[in-house]
Symmetry: C2
Subunit: 394 residues, 2 copies
């Protein structure tokens, strides 16, 4: 059974064109780009081309791109670099809805003696700007705020925040793992000092990511050793995957107009149909400022895990939160921070589409979901209780 | 022109069987192993199998293997973990002939206030055991010594060192990037606490490596974030490459007997013929304790870079030192530590073979090298001077 893969915020299919571009660099052209011979030299040229393609997607220069092994490494690199650059500053700021890569890192740093501010959000997932600005001081070493939320797709006002932080001279990092390739990012128009991204969210393979570091930003390497990446990241270059990331960025750039308009209308059709057909369901997030591919829908009084199991029987892949926290029985920290009631947060499903998603796939999900939800509600004591208490309309 | 690739200590060809095993996990079976749906679950099973294969190669348990993005990440992880585990100990020990991954990391830590001992070696690259043991104290947080040298193939007495460090209760890390798959490693027979290795040195792709951490060793993660790798390393699993590393380990295990005997005799034939045919040349390293694939040969009074350029014209790939330090005009720190005279260190070439190397390839190198060396010596003022001074026999 070919899956209906609506879990693209967890990971994406490698684009066949990307894989084709990578293929020669495993068995045939496997040189070490740092080697003296031309067999190594020719692959160094391909890495140069890939770095240019990555930079082009965000209007950066190739020298501003550090290639890493994943978004988490990029995040660790950015945060630790900022802390080393400001050894006297002991306050760090992020939001309550970050991906575990940043959330857990900040909690770890808290144990190491840093004062942390986790800025709250409102019920649409929008950052509380008053609390945020009030938290900043001369002691703030770095602000790290995600560009777009992985669970709801809600986007923070990165332009506004960047402008304000520049005025105050505070280093600004953004985790753009979910935003890259889905919205138009131009680093020359936004005051970001560092920006993390990941290959496997944009149809490049897993195991490669990157960090944009604006020219002039004080930087300390995280991974110490050889002089790869202009002395900014040790380790033999991950040749084929870097070439794949370059190609994926080139393709993503081509999709920024048409591809994502189509994606948005597909997502909207799925979302509207489900909320219309299924009572006591609603969409989460800031509907005015969202990624075009993400739908977070709460189905009240049932368990998300059970919905996923039943979807799985039809080959439909979705998620009840971040893949990085799956297995946990706690409802998502993102939905809790938004104040979504437990009865709804528990039954929340994230559908995340890609440019490979089709109308037929959306049709099938629209067809199957109402009966799945009804079957689960029929078995749910919480649903019965809600009926008895007159809380829901059946 | 198909290259004659004798630079396998820099990086290796991905084994076609390894690539075949990886191929489905890019475009078809691309799930996130942490996802709830069976599309993700099935790839989690493949990672489990790969981890078992990796562990089997060194007789470890799968739980003792942390998969990383490269040998350098493994080294950083091991060293920083040991330092965090012993916050009161400020002395660290390594050798003068380590790979830049460890050498540069130790130099970095020196700036951070650690006292470092770089233990010297003799003219065969053997560790000075007296200096080594004398350097150890209650203040020593970690000893990191490479299993086999990347330039000469010389092996340190890891068994003896491990036994002694265990007695003294000092954490022992070894960089086994060059040793893995080329010699039989059994972690149950050697007192190693942590051991780094890398995929692309054993015919797996670049961008994946590992760290063995003996059960019971106190461990702190280096990359903080999601709970992958049993909470020991954040970041979405590098699916295809991990599967490739598992397959490469399985294949390497099969080669440990026959494959490496053949490799050793091929290397010996190359080495003996070159030293016999070319006057004023000699082999570097500990001939009694060496990797089976590595030949480091000094050709006096000429430049290694020039030799490489001329070899390159015949499609022969070799190296004048570590790829990670190429571009530097300094002769190798390894050869300098061994006290090899500058006139010889400058003209040193490393040929590193693999199980894919053939008799025909060795024949061609044996045929071409004498004329290359002669042509370069004819142009070398140092060679003329040496003749005039009666230092060489022509």
């Amino acid at each position: 059974m070919k899956p209906i893969y609506f879990d693209n915020n967890a990971t994406t299919k490698v684009d066949p064109e990307v894989f084709e571009e990578m293929t020669p660099y495993f068995v045939e052209l496997y040189g070490n780009p740092s080697s003296m011979h031309s067999f190594g030299g020719q692959v160094a040229e391909k890495i140069k081309e890939a770095r240019k393609r990555i930079a082009d997607l965000i209007n950066a220069t190739p020298e501003e791109i550090i290639i890493t092994s994943c978004g988490s490494e990029s995040d660790n690199t950015a945060i630790y670099s900022a802390l080393k650059s400001h050894p006297d500053k002991k306050h760090i700021v992020t939001s309550m809805v970050e991906h575990p890569a940043i959330k857990n890192l900040f909690q770890h740093l808290e144990k190491d003696g840093y004062t942390t501010t986790f800025v709250p959000v409102d019920n649409k997932g929008r950052l509380n700007m008053d609390v945020f600005y009030d938290s900043l001081s001369d002691n703030t070493a770095i602000v790290s705020l995600m560009w777009a939320n992985n669970e709801t797709g809600t986007m923070f006002p990165i332009d506004e925040i960047g402008a304000e932080l520049k005025k105050r001279g505070i280093t600004f990092h953004t985790d753009a793992v979910q935003a890259l390739g889905k919205i138009d990012i131009d680093v020359t128009k936004t005051n970001i000092d560092m920006m993390s991204f990941s290959g496997h969210k944009i149809h490049a393979p897993k195991g490669v990511g990157g960090l944009y570091v604006r020219k002039g930003t004080k930087f300390s390497p995280f991974l110490i050793g050889g002089h790869q990446e202009g002395g900014k990241r040790a380790g033999t270059e991950n040749l084929a995957s870097i070439i794949g990331l370059g190609k994926a960025c080139e393709i993503a750039k081509g999709h920024l107009d048409d591809g994502y308009h189509k994606l948005r209308s597909l997502r909207d059709r799925l979302e509207n149909a489900l909320v219309e057909k299924i009572p006591n369901s609603f969409v989460n997030g800031d509907l005015e400022n969202r990624l075009p591919n993400t739908a977070s829908i709460s189905f009240e009084y049932i368990e998300g895990e059970s919905i996923l199991l039943m979807l799985n029987e039809y080959g439909i892949c979705a998620s009840s939160g971040s893949a990085c926290t799956s297995g946990s029985l706690e409802p998502s920290h993102v939905l809790r921070a938004m104040g979504i009631p437990f009865t709804a947060a528990h039954g929340t499903i994230r559908f995340s589409l890609s440019v490979f998603s089709t109308d037929e796939e959306v049709d099938l999900v629209i067809e199957k979901m109402p009966e799945i939800i009804q079957r689960l509600r029929d078995m749910s004591p919480f649903w019965q209780e809600a009926i008895n208490e007159g809380k829901v309309t059946v």
